[in-house]
């Protein structure tokens, strides 16, 4: 039984307007199966809400799932909101449909790791575990 993420608390959040959360739910379950305590926000949450939940829940990481194409803006807003809650030290991950060309810009906005849709669940869990170790 995988227990790489035991004792970790992770927020999986969907900012913005896209209406699909199958991917986010699959990730949440995979993280749970690796031992993490996962807080999932549901669809269409504001960056302010996400930052507030991250602070209240004292999570070890925030994962944003974004399919709407507005990832550059949403990440900037979320990073700023985390800063307002004094939670900008929490690692920020992003997954969804993110073109490679935008990765550097996201990292400059404070993203620690981008997960692309080619990665398997196992690879994603391993990478999260490595970064939170």
């Amino acid at each position: 039984m995988a227990t790489q993420l035991q004792g970790k608390r992770i927020l999986i959040a969907k900012p913005g307007l896209d209406g699909h959360d199958v991917g986010a739910k699959v990730i949440a379950l995979a993280l749970r199966d690796a031992g993490a305590e996962v807080i999932y926000t549901g669809l269409r949450k504001t960056p302010d809400y996400i930052a507030r939940v991250a602070a209240e829940e004292n999570v070890d990481a925030v994962g944003l799932s974004i399919l709407s194409g507005s990832h550059l803006e949403l990440v900037k807003l979320t990073a700023a909101a985390l800063k307002r809650e004094h939670a900008d030290d929490v690692p920020l991950f992003v997954g969804g449909t993110i073109p490679r060309g935008d990765w550097n810009a996201l990292k400059e906005s404070g993203v620690d790791c981008v997960f692309d849709s080619e990665m398997s669940l196992e690879q994603i869990v391993d990478e999260v575990a490595r970064r939170l170790a």
């Binding site: 807080i39 507030r52 602070a55 809650e85």
Partner: protein, 305 residues
């Protein structure tokens, strides 16, 4: 409530979030060090438990109820517990989505906890967690238990008012009576009033509740509600205020404090016992039961820090 004219310091969500993790993750020694000499909150804080079977609508109801409490200008802290997987120890903490869908109220704080080692519908160190919230200037502290089993017994002693939530459906009544649910609640809510059979269930539950022995006893009201539509929330709020008033005039504060403290100490000892038995060498379980018992008991204590 505090002085209405003096503005309250805003909730420091980051600091409180961290402090809650520290106490929720603490070994008993550390929890005791935090609690040593702690007298508890100086102000009167109302503690309310919300329990009931899985999926009856506890979280949805808490979400509605919180708004009623906030409307009284009360600062509200909520602890919502979801079960940990016995296989991976992981958990999906899903209560809070229904509790603070908008999450922009300055006077509300919500924290999710996984049940971890606790087998009683609560979470590790829950008594410490509630005490910590109390010390942080909240007026109301609400705790939603895991929706299964016999969680009502343990939470009973930790709260002032226990709300038991049920919903209409075949077998519910039998289940509830079997589980002893109808002896522990201060207030019963039949949720999902929009579903068939809800009204009948209110009458049914009211008829089988324990009847007061004297006019001084509290008669638990049965409130019909719909967390979906928001019906019955004002009645629930009124029932809670009535129960608070009844407690204030009928219960001796010293007795209530003793009950609360006994539950807290028992929880700490139970947790300490788990620490000792989980951490023991295999060799301990090769000796006879009486010897192992004495070795475990001797291992429970350590010098006070």
């Amino acid at each position: 409530m505090t002085d209405a004219t003096a503005p309250r310091a805003p909730i420091n969500r980051r600091a409180l979030g961290r402090a809650l993790s520290r106490i929720a993750d603490a070994m008993v020694a550390e929890a005791l060090a935090v609690l040593d000499g702690e007298a508890g909150a100086a102000r009167e804080v109302w503690r309310c438990g919300i329990t009931g079977p899985a999926g009856v609508g506890k979280s949805s109801l808490v979400g509605r109820f919180v708004n009623a409490r906030l409307a009284h200008k009360r600062r509200v802290g909520v602890v919502a517990i979801d079960p940990s997987s016995p296989y991976s120890q992981g958990a999906i903490l899903g209560d809070r989505i229904r509790i603070d869908a908008h999450g922009d109220d300055a006077e509300l704080f919500v924290r999710s906890l996984a049940s971890r080692h606790a087998r009683d519908g609560l979470a590790d160190n829950i008594a410490n967690v509630l005490a910590l919230l109390e010390a942080h200037d909240f007026d109301d502290v609400l705790v939603e238990t895991v929706g299964a089993g016999q969680s009502q017994y343990e939470v009973r002693e930790l709260v002032d008012t226990l709300i038991v939530v049920l919903m209409p459906g075949a077998g519910d009544m039998v289940q509830a009576v079997k589980a002893g649910i109808l002896e522990t609640g201060d207030i019963y809510v039949i949720n999902k009033a929009d579903r068939p059979g809800a009204k009948e269930m209110v009458a049914e539950i009211a008829s089988v509740l324990r009847h007061p022995q004297s006019s001084d006893d509290w008669l638990p009201p049965v409130v019909l509600a719909s967390a979906l539509g928001g019906d019955g929330i004002a009645e629930l709020d009124a029932a809670c205020e009535a129960h608070r008033a009844w407690r204030a005039s009928h219960l001796d504060a010293a007795t209530a404090r003793r009950t609360r403290r006994r539950a807290h100490v028992r929880a700490l000892v139970a947790r300490r016992l788990a620490e000792v038995t989980d951490g023991a060498d295999d060799a301990l379980w090769d000796v006879d039961v009486a010897s192992a018992y004495h070795a475990v008991v001797a291992g429970l204590d350590y010098p006070r820090r």
